[in-house]
């Protein structure tokens, strides 16, 4: 099956026969698949620049195509017409990795398609979810090469996830087979197609069954492509498409000798060749006691001239049925040059020759018996032992699903509890959690009926307990682009589509006491993308990390990023370039949204229904804001623009939910209070650009004291690990009490995110998202000892020590294996792991930097 591997909607692919001749006759099926991907390829269009943009574009195209089917008044659209025509074909989706495979699967579910997915070769990492997707996978046998680990320092730059992937990639097909995933194999991804047999051998060695391998190369792909009545099995009535090989195809030394394509025979190795790997007694000139011996490859044997223990190298070539030999029985005495042919059964070879003096003569050699087989000197590789896939399959991952604890019941005793509730700070108190919830807060004794079977007891003496930290502004755990900054309004894109559950910063932040993160779109445009709220459930999938039932938010942005002030002198034409233009963007967008919303409301209210209006994902999100079903968190700095956005909101009768960054919030705190907007700010950042020239670290305190719900956020993967220290700065700058300051990173962001009935304080009935600290939580000297999310201890200081040892021993194990592989002649690659994918608000590249 051949297709154009470029772009997002790639058009159709055809099934062709690989024979020679009239190409029209070689097409078995002209439209076999409709192909898609997330990669815009060589397209010169700006949009989309991010993975989430690609996803939005695909979803919008489905909607447009559906509308195109039923809309009455429309212009002819060649793309949508073709899109619709191709919907009944096999839908083939190419992705880079397992995460995008699951993303594609979700899109498919939304629009009634179950894609056949050409995966990235790492589906083993989440095989349970892959199996649940019910997709058919096209599995590549492109395996990474071993890394050059000869220098111990250089080897440090290869991360464990890459080391483990090197080891496990060849086992991918085997893992999929065991999990019951329907899959076929492809040569796609290999640098050279001839690598396929050896790659297949590796996969077989790692446990892929021959039976499944054969199916995955014949009947299954035939069925998938709807050509199972023509090809894929050997039975009468089918096309004569088959090949002949010397041994079982799945055996190592097997050689393909012929292809038959649609009845045409293609000879690869002389099929009539006779067994000539024999020892022959030579009769030539005056030579005495010499034998010719052929061994090795059946189709290109190695020849030697042998007498007793003397071996002389023979230059041998064949052309049609004739052989050429050249050898020097005595070195330096001149060479014999022979031409000769075998008889029919290979028992004799004879012909003419010239001796070293140039004299012509006849020669012959009679078969004496088979030549001695060459001793196999290659090292026998040891049997493959399937490693356990870690979750995620990298440093600090859980060893298996069973390794992730479940939420039992835990009693933390005699601890200082910062409730972030009216109770304030409780000394020598107890907190009990059960099944993921906080069930008791107070002082209990063993006789109180708070003890459950199998309850874990933790002595909190000398320690402090706080609610989990909530980061209102984070960009961790995002794949392939935080900004869809190609347009000024991109409310259709969703960070929730591109969560990366394998980001090490999730674990690192748990170690800093963070339990909930609000992952935001960047600030490159006035109306950015929809945000996603996650709990840091390290080891779980992207979908499992989502905060269930939380309100939807969207990122807006004001100021210098939006107007491209700091993007260099080449970016001076995109609208808006001034704060004046930013207001116009909002007014235009909401004017459109209002009209769109009215059209839909009218349609939904009408009895006769009729033809539905076209759905627009961008306007859907904006209409949700107007209908108070989606809420704004807006990147903001200067007082003027803050004031402006509140006016825009007022004029459309909604409320801005949160100003994030909001460094000049203190200048318009009274107006913010009147509007009812919250603030999520930095503790002490300033001076990094002109619009923060008046930023002051007392900002948080002023807004808080005026009665605005105020939080501190990170916008930075490092700072998020120390948000407790940032909160402490509210005490330093502005004399906020420690108790209130802690709320800046717990209860207050929970309120800003509308989740304060679930998290943000230690209160009976709330989620057991809590952190046990080894000292006062706002002290620079304190650190978390345990971090619980939903009552599950996802970070434990002691366990972390063990994980560090595990990482070292696991690295050592694989590095040793890589050296063995290299010694056995395996290919190697230089270099280390790719840079970590890490974003801030204004990062435009979708590649990691």
């Amino acid at each position: 099956m051949s297709l154009q591997k470029d772009g997002i909607a790639r058009g159709t692919g055809a099934v062709v026969l690989m024979g020679d001749g009239d190409i029209h006759k070689l097409i078995l099926k002209d439209k076999a698949v409709n192909a898609l991907s997330f990669n815009k390829g060589t397209s010169t269009q700006d949009y989309p620049s991010s993975l989430m943009g690609s996803i939005a574009l695909i979803r919008q195209t489905y909607l447009d195509a559906q509308w195109y089917n039923y809309a009455k008044e429309k212009d002819f659209d060649i793309s949508l017409a073709a899109w619709n025509a191709n919907q009944n074909l096999l839908q083939l989706f190419e992705v880079n990795d397992y995460r995008s495979a699951l993303r594609a699967n979700l899109i498919g579910k939304e629009f009634g398609q179950n894609y056949c997915i050409r995966g990235g070769g790492d589906e083993y990492k989440r095989v349970d979810e892959i199996a649940k997707s019910k997709s058919t996978f096209i599995v590549t046998l492109n395996f990474p090469k071993a890394y050059d680990v000869s220098n111990p320092f250089d080897a440090l730059n290869i991360n464990l996830d890459d080391l483990r992937h090197w080891e496990m990639a060849p086992a991918n097909a085997s893992v999929l087979e065991k999990a019951g995933v329907n899959f076929v194999l492809t040569t796609d991804g290999l640098k050279e197609k001839k690598e396929f047999p050896s790659a297949l051998q590796k996969a077989l060695k790692c446990g892929l069954s021959k039976d499944q391998a054969l199916k995955a190369l014949t009947t299954l792909p035939a069925k998938l492509l709807g050509i199972e009545n023509q090809v894929g099995s050997l039975k009468s009535g089918m096309l004569a498409n088959f090949f002949i090989c010397t041994k079982d195809y799945f055996e190592k030394e097997n050689v393909i000798v012929e292809h038959w394509i649609s009845g045409e025979r293609y000879i690869i190795k002389n099929p009539d060749s006779i067994e000539i790997r024999n020892k022959y007694k030579l009769t030539l000139d005056t030579l005495q006691g010499w034998n010719l011996s052929a061994s090795g490859d059946q189709f290109a044997p190695e020849w030697t001239l042998v007498r007793d223990t003397i071996k002389v190298k023979v230059e041998a070539t064949s052309f049609n049925s004739q052989w050429t030999f050249r050898f020097e029985p005595k070195k330096g005495k001149g060479a014999y040059r022979l031409n000769g042919s075998f008889n029919l059964n290979g028992s004799r070879i004879s012909g003419q020759a010239q001796n070293p003096d140039g004299k012509w003569m006849t020669w012959s050699a009679e078969k004496m018996g088979p030549s001695e087989a060459k001793k196999d000197t290659t090292k026998k590789d040891s049997a493959f032992v399937m490693p356990q896939t870690w979750l995620p399959n990298m440093a600090y991952g859980w060893k298996s699903k069973a390794d992730i604890p479940s939420a039992g019941s835990v009693w933390i005793k005699n601890v200082t509890v910062w409730t972030c509730e009216e109770q304030g700070i409780l000394q020598n108190a107890d907190v009990i959690m059960k099944d993921g919830k906080i069930v008791a807060v107070g002082k209990f004794s063993d006789t109180d009926k708070v003890k459950y079977d199998g309850m874990e007891m933790i002595d909190g003496t000398g320690m402090h307990l706080t609610p989990g930290i909530i980061d209102e502004h984070s960009h961790i755990a995002i794949n392939e682009g935080v900004n869809e900054g190609t347009q000024s309004v991109t409310s259709e894109v969703r960070i929730g589509d591109v969560i990366n559950p394998d980001d090490i910063n999730i674990y690192r932040q748990l170690a800093g006491g963070v339990t909930t993160s609000h992952l935001l779109h960047g600030s490159a445009n006035a109306i950015g993308g929809q945000t996603i709220l996650i709990k840091l459930r390290w080891g779980q999938t992207a979908e499992e990390m989502k905060f269930k039932g939380a309100d939807g938010f969207i990122k807006f942005a004001l100021g210098e990023n939006v107007k491209q002030s700091n993007w260099g002198d080449n970016n001076v034409t995109r609208y808006p370039q001034t704060r004046m233009g930013v207001e116009q963007i909002y007014m235009d967008a909401f004017t459109r949204a209002k009209e769109y919303d009215a059209t839909w409301k009218k349609f939904n209210a009408s009895k006769s229904k009729g033809i539905a209006p076209r759905r627009d994902l961008e306007l859907d999100a904006l209409a949700e804001i107007l209908n108070k079903k989606r809420f704004i968190t807006c990147h903001s700095y200067q007082q003027g623009e803050i004031n402006m956005l509140m006016h825009v909101a007022d004029s459309f009768q909604f409320r801005v939910n949160t100003f994030t960054h909001i460094l000049e919030g203190y200048k318009v705190a009274d107006k913010m209070k009147a509007h009812g907007v919250g603030a999520s700010t930095f503790s002490d950042w300033w001076a990094y650009k002109y619009e923060v020239i008046d930023a002051i670290p007392y900002n948080g305190a002023i807004m808080h004291n005026i009665g605005i719900v105020t939080g501190f956020n990170s916008d930075d993967a490092e700072m998020a690990r120390r948000l407790n220290q940032e909160a402490a700065k509210a005490c330093k700058y502005g004399n906020v009490s420690e108790e209130e300051a802690l709320k800046f990173v717990t209860l207050n962001p929970a309120k800003l995110l509308h989740i304060s009935d679930q998290v943000g304080s230690i209160k009976i009935g709330k989620d057991a998202d809590i952190v046990l600290w080894n000292g006062p939580p706002l002290s620079v000297y304190s650190k978390p000892v345990k971090t619980f999310v939903d009552g599950i201890c996802y970070y434990d200081l002691k366990r972390d020590e063990q994980l560090r040892n595990d990482i070292q021993s696991e690295r050592q194990r694989i590095i040793k294996k890589m050296q063995d592989d290299k010694a056995a002649g395996g290919p190697i690659q230089k270099g280390g792991s790719a840079p970590h994918e890490e974003y801030h608000c204004n990062d435009m590249e979708n590649a990691p930097h």
Binding site: N151, F153, D154, L156, N157, N159, L160, A395, N505, Y507, R508, A511, E560, N566, Y666, K667, A669, D670, D684, W686, A687, Y688, K689, Y690, I693, D694, I696, P697, Y698, I702, N705, I706, A717, E718, M719, R721, R722, Q725, A728, K729, C731, K732, Y733, G734, L778, S779, V780, Y781, K783, D800, R804, R811, Q829, K830, G831, G832, S833, A834, P835, H836
Partner: protein, 427 residues
């Protein structure tokens, strides 16, 4: 003699000006009585008496049983229950070289071209930068102002942060030359060609470094009559009067830099040094100090210990290596104390952590005779904080002296704070 209690001082500061005027030379004999003195050398005196005469510390001692002679002092300041610290020293900073990162016109830390040994940060240092008073307010009273970018960036200088102009500010001019070590860390590249390119880039840079230092070493020795300003600027490297500050992170780069220093007999200081803990033996053997540029940093690699950046100073310190901590940039330096405080949670005592931003820094800069700790005869550059200055909840600088001069702790941000507090009538 006047007796001052600290609350009086605070009231006097309520009259605020956006840009504090540098304090005049101290002609008084001042006694600071009762503070916990954090000396900066790892020692601490719970109840201290600190004498200041002119610009110097006349004594620092235990105040237990001490009855000050009122005639011996012009002013006695009672600072019981408060803490005294030597002024923090912000190494590797661009204080005074930048006022707003994104505004090009305010940036004076990176010259164009790759070989700039004669470029001097000192003359670009702006003592009137609005950022400086905000940094002082948290205890940073001295800074090394360092050039950035290129291969050989230029020379740094050490300044005190209460001055009319850069000449006044100078504590030590041209203390060292800065190198951004060519990267030896190979990243994964799409093609073997790109990998070769990476290597070639390193080799080319190394060649130009060797050429520059061969020339400079020869020049320093022969002192030719025809002057070369680039080579002239590097002379101090070869007589030990200047450090060679090498910015690098990866173990192989650190080793290479030390080998390089050996070859030319240079005083190498590693700046950054993420991997320095992996080569402690070499650092110790060659007596090479390390300046850690941020402790509030993510680990260098995914597999690293998650607290690697926090515990790195302790590993080096315990191994007997001279280690100093700094924050990056300019406005960020106000968190210098907290960068050190965090380390105290990961293997160092509070006094040792303090040492990493005071005396150790002074030793690296070669100004330890006069700066870096609260010891007799050193400059009276110190501050009084109401609480633990390494902790966010304790750091409240109530009074600060630079070379004996009590400086104005006002700043632009405080002024805005007061203005808006008043507007809203909030506490």
């Amino acid at each position: 003699m006047k007796k001052i209690f600290i609350f009086l001082l605070l009231i006097s500061q309520a009259v605020m000006a956006q840009r504090p005027t540098p304090a005049t030379t101290n002609k008084q004999r001042i006694l600071l009585l009762g503070a916990t003195a954090h000396i900066g050398n790892g020692q601490m005196i719970p109840m201290s008496a600190i004498g200041i005469t002119g610009g110097k510390l006349s004594f620092v001692m235990d105040a237990k049983g001490y009855k000050p002679d009122p005639k011996a002092f012009d002013t006695i300041i009672y600072v019981n229950d408060k803490h005294a610290y030597p002024g923090f020293i912000a190494l590797n900073s661009i204080l005074g070289l930048s006022d707003l990162e994104a505004v090009r016109a305010t940036n004076d830390y990176r010259e164009s071209g790759s070989i700039n040994p004669s470029a001097r940060t000192l003359i670009a240092y702006n003592p009137d930068s609005r950022v400086i008073p905000t940094v002082r307010d948290n205890g940073v009273l001295m800074a090394q102002v360092a050039p950035q970018g290129g291969l050989l960036s230029g020379s740094s200088s050490v300044v005190q942060l209460d001055a009319w102009n850069w000449e006044d500010a100078t504590v030590k001019a041209d203390d060292g030359i800065w190198v951004n070590w060519p990267s030896m860390r190979q990243q994964r590249m799409a093609t073997p060609d790109a990998e070769a390119e990476q290597k070639a880039k390193n080799e080319k840079a190394m060649q130009s470094l060797y050429k520059q230092f061969d020339d400079a070493a020869g020049y320093a020795k022969s002192n030719p009559s025809v002057k070369n300003r680039h080579l002239e600027a590097m002379k101090g490297l070869f007589d030990g009067s200047m450090n060679l500050y090498v910015r690098c992170e990866f173990a192989r780069e650190i080793i290479e830099a030390i080998n390089f220093g050996d070859k030319y007999k240079l005083k190498v200081v590693i700046v950054g040094g993420n991997d320095s803990w992996r080569v402690v033996d070499l650092l110790k053997e060659k007596n090479v100090p390390v300046i850690i540029t941020r402790t509030h940093a993510l680990p260098y690699r995914e597999d690293d210990d998650i607290d690697m950046s926090y515990k790195l100073p302790a590993i080096l310190f315990k191994a007997g290596i001279r280690v100093s901590i700094t924050d990056e940039g300019f406005w960020q330096q106000r968190n210098l104390g907290f960068q050190a405080g965090t380390v105290a949670g990961y293997g160092l005592t509070k006094e040792e952590a303090l040492q990493c931003i005071t005396l150790s820094s002074a030793l690296i800069l070669g100004i330890d005779k006069t700066c870096g700790s609260l010891e007799d005869e050193k400059d009276a550059t110190l501050f009084i904080s109401s609480g633990d200055a390494l902790d966010m909840t304790g750091n409240k600088v109530e009074m600060a002296f630079v070379q004996g001069r009590m400086i104005d702790l006002d700043n632009y941000q405080k002024e805005l704070y007061l203005r808006y507090k008043e507007k809203y009538s909030v506490k």
